[in-house]
């Protein structure tokens, strides 16, 4: 009898390393709920705040899941998001909100195609391509904005891209859900997603199977920059301005979210759901540590320790 009741649990625990992100998420949530209840952790407003703070990271992390699964990396996402806030804000002041949106998408497309071209045609590893692009994007953003914030005076734009809410639900949450849903289906069920996983899992084998791996790598880098541009548009809308500092350092949180969610840095393995939970977990830890009243220095240490613990527990041991 005991056996019958423990059978499903047994299967779950047999794979507990794979599921560590979900177990960890629940454990941390419960711990925070119990210890921080009096400080309002469970307050719906606080929970929605976590979503608001996580949305941009999550949007970029979904695309990063594709990039890492294809065996590449994109370090330029934070800087591209920052650059996009500036181009969007400037374009809105000249051509209105529609022009702003087009300018934002064009920014992502241009940077992504340049990254992809350098990586797949010139043969520079994406680590270096995007490391250099990180500096270039930030430099361009500082230059065209004269390092000053550019205000956005279009309430419609701000509402759609990050500032608005439907009842209690922030618009940002819809963006996150839509991107996550599309990303999940695309990676798990579409031919493109399968080719991405094959390219990262064994490039030579993928090529022998008739997959154009260069085109796949080009596309994931374009995808990543476009997602970064969307994140930039959300930053711009939420803060009603464009500033080069926005998104700074986000690339590390984005990569951490994907890796926490079980995406392999070596390619071939990744899930969008895991990535979203990873992003939410990072947001939740940030929020909880602040509510605990930890100093910023202590927050950094605690956050690093939790990430190392989670990833270490998920490793297979031979």
């Amino acid at each position: 009898m005991a056996k019958a009741t423990t059978a499903p649990a047994g299967a779950f625990f047999a794979n507990w390393r794979q599921n560590i992100i979900y177990i960890g998420f629940v454990v941390i949530f419960v711990v925070f709920a119990l210890t921080l209840n009096d400080k309002g952790f469970l307050n719906p407003n606080n929970l929605l705040n976590i979503v608001r703070q996580t949305a941009m990271i999550a949007v970029m992390a979904v695309a990063m899941t594709f990039v890492l699964s294809a065996g590449e990396i994109d370090l330029s996402v934070g800087a591209v998001a920052g650059l996009t806030t500036v181009t969007v804000a400037m374009a809105i002041s000249i051509a209105g909100p529609v022009g702003g949106v087009l300018a934002g998408l064009a920014t992502g497309l241009a940077v992504g195609m340049f990254n992809g071209w350098l990586t797949t045609r010139i043969g520079i590893p994406s680590f270096l391509t995007t490391l250099a692009m990180m500096g270039i994007a930030k430099g361009v953003a500082m230059w065209i904005s004269d390092t000053a914030a550019v205000p956005i005076l279009s309430p419609g734009y701000s509402w759609i891209f990050g500032g608005g809410s439907v009842g209690p639900i922030p618009v940002l949450m819809f963006w996150m859900a839509v991107i996550a849903g599309v990303g999940h289906v695309a990676l798990r069920r579409s031919g493109f997603g399968r080719k991405v996983l094959a390219t990262g899992g064994g490039e030579m084998a993928a090529r022998y199977s008739g997959i154009d791996t260069r085109s796949i790598k080009f596309k994931v880098l374009v995808l990543s920059s476009c997602a970064a541009a969307l994140a930039g548009m959300l930053y711009a809308g939420r803060l009603q301005s464009g500033r080069f500092q926005l998104g700074e350092g986000d690339e590390l949180s984005v990569i951490a979210a994907a890796v926490l969610g079980g995406t392999s840095l070596f390619g071939g393995k990744g899930t969008v759901i895991g990535t979203i939970v990873g992003a939410l977990m990072i947001g939740m830890i940030n929020n909880g540590l602040i509510l605990m009243g930890l100093e910023f220095s202590q927050q950094l240490i605690a956050k690093g320790a939790i990430i190392i613990l989670a990833v270490a527990l998920s490793q297979k041991r031979g």
């Binding site: 289906v185 798990r188 069920r189 579409s190 031919g191 997603g193 399968r194 080719k195 996983l197 094959a198 990262g200 899992g201 064994g202 030579m204 084998a205 993928a206 022998y208 199977s209 008739g210 997959i211 392999s264 390619g267 071939g268 393995k269």
Partner: protein, 523 residues
């Protein structure tokens, strides 16, 4: 051969060179629909090259390819696939992070109404294929978790699933059990009856004899003969494969074998996968060869002795004392050295200098106080460069700038620097030019003369025969027979080149015999 069967593949006058070396020289190759056509030849005969040309991976300089009467104009893997050609790529086309079913139908997945991949359908169809083959492979398992045999079955299933007109199987059976091979054959006969042309590459003559209708033999990039199997008994096949070698691998005088004490002794040693229950003794001053086909356990045996895959049972004794070799460092401490088979990944660090590679295994000794003694690095490197006559611009040049033969000498030098008593060389002449080959074989003889015990693994039989005093024939992880090199010689034969060929044929026959005995014992 009764009624003339339609021609499925006709390749005419195919030539292909790699860096000035002619891999294929105006080769004609014709396969009928509804036949199993064996493609035979020694290492470097051009078998894989012609298959890769047919499959669109290589583009030939000359020649035409017709498939079912249509000339192939585009030379890409996609064009070959569209023309109905499917091939298994010896584990090259499997992605370890995807499942068996996902791998089999990669880029050809069934789509549901919304255009999304239907993985359940792939699993179903994979099951159908494995059921047809009557083998047990879980379509939902990750390929990375599979053993070699299951991977090979997945490769075969992937090729079969394309329902091709021309099915190329390149060494499909190296990791399969005897019963799986039997079931594969049953299935191939069914395909044959449906009019599929099957090109079958194998080094196992017994398999060829059982499954093939006709055979084509290549040697040194040239077409030798195409004939029905009935006209090709095994010894005739071997004669055509070996041929009159013009390789200039002169038989190095072996001199008197002065066998000394027993250096290394294996008693019923079994490794994690292979070998199984192997026993032999290696004496001071002798060269022992390990002969056998791919998957016979030769390299696995070397890895066990070198502590890379430690033995799970049995005893390893050095000069009569039982020793434990659990890590490569243990082997080095017992003065065992392994020159591994994959030079580029297991032997050298290509971007590092000749000197740095040379001292990699003795860093502890040359850095007694924690700092590397540069004078000793120089001495070791210069000593080895002179001793092995390594051609390099300087000891500070990257090993990647050296030719294959000289890179191999760097690996040998690196291991000689550990001052081993027992030296194992796994395929030491793979991918190097004929001049360096002869040099390395001479070096092997010299090392034995100097009182070391040497084990040589090679797929080139002429090389084993030239270098070794005794040859252990292995099959399926087991030691089959220990042959004295002298017994393979024909006392009547005076001409040294003919003598070497005759010995090679004898050894080839012993290797094939080992396979049949294995099968008999497995039932």
């Amino acid at each position: 051969m009764t009624a003339p069967a339609p021609v499925a593949v006709r390749m005419t006058g195919i030539s292909k060179s790699f860096g000035g070396i002619r891999a294929l020289d105006s080769v004609d190759f014709e396969v009928f629909a509804g036949e199993v056509h064996a493609l035979l030849g020694g290492n470097g005969a051009g078998k894989s090259t012609i298959l890769k040309v047919l499959n669109g991976v290589h583009v030939p300089e000359e020649g035409t390819i017709e498939v079912a009467g249509q000339t192939l104009t585009a030379r890409t893997p996609e064009a070959a696939r569209a023309a109905g050609i499917a091939m298994n790529f010896q584990e090259m086309s499997l992605i370890p992070t995807l499942t068996v079913a996902q791998n089999i139908f990669l880029t050809r997945e069934a789509r549901d109404a919304r255009g999304m991949i239907d993985d359940a359908d792939s699993v179903r169809r994979a099951k159908v294929i494995f059921d047809m083959l009557q083998v047990e492979v879980d379509p939902t398992a990750l390929v990375g978790d599979l053993g070699a045999g299951q991977k090979q079955l997945t490769e075969i299933a992937k090729a079969i699933s394309q329902e091709a007109r021309v099915l190329i199987l390149d060494e499909p059976s190296t990791a399969l059990s005897v019963s799986d091979v039997e079931r594969l054959f049953v299935f191939l006969r069914q395909l044959k009856a449906k009019g599929v042309a099957i090109i079958y590459v194998s080094h196992r003559m017994d398999e060829i004899a059982r499954i093939a209708d006709r055979a084509t033999i290549l040697r040194d990039g040239k077409h030798v003969i195409t004939a029905p199997l009935a006209d090709l008994p095994i010894d005739v096949m071997i004669e055509h494969i070996v041929g009159k070698k013009s390789k200039g691998l002169a038989d190095v005088a072996r001199g008197d074998v002065s066998r000394g004490e027993v250096l290394l002794e294996l008693a019923n040693v079994t490794g994690p996968h292979k070998p199984e229950n192997v026993s032999f003794a290696l004496h001071r001053g002798e060269v022992l060869g390990l002969a056998g086909l791919l998957g016979s356990g030769r390299s696995a045996l070397a890895r066990v002795v070198a502590g890379i895959e430690p033995a799970v049972s049995g005893e390893i004794r050095i000069k009569g004392t039982r020793v434990a070799v659990r890590r490569p460092a243990d082997a080095v401490a017992h003065r065992i050295a392994l020159v591994p088979e994959a030079r580029a990944t297991q032997g050298i660090i290509p971007a590092h200098s000749v000197a740095d590679n040379m001292v990699m295994s003795v860093i502890g000794r040359i850095a007694p106080k924690g700092f590397v003694d540069r004078v000793r690095v120089r001495d070791i490197a210069e000593d080895m460069i002179a001793r092995l006559s390594i051609k390099t611009a300087s000891r500070d040049h990257a090993v990647s700038t050296l030719s294959g033969g000289n890179q191999q000498k760097v690996v040998i030098g690196k291991w000689l620097a550990t001052e081993p008593e027992i030296l194992i060389l796994d395929e030491p002449t793979a991918g190097i030019d004929i001049g360096s080959k002869a040099e390395i074989i001479r070096l092997v003889r010299d090392l034995a003369q100097a009182g070391k015990g040497v084990i040589v693994i090679s797929s080139e039989l002429s090389e084993l025969l030239t270098a070794c005093d005794r040859i252990l024939v292995m099959a399926d992880g087991r030691a089959h027979q220990m042959l004295d090199r002298a017994d393979l010689d024909d006392p009547e034969e005076r001409d040294p080149e003919h003598a070497l060929q005759a010995a090679e044929r004898r050894l080839q026959i012993e290797i094939q015999k080992a396979l049949t005995i294995k099968e008999a014992s497995h039932g």
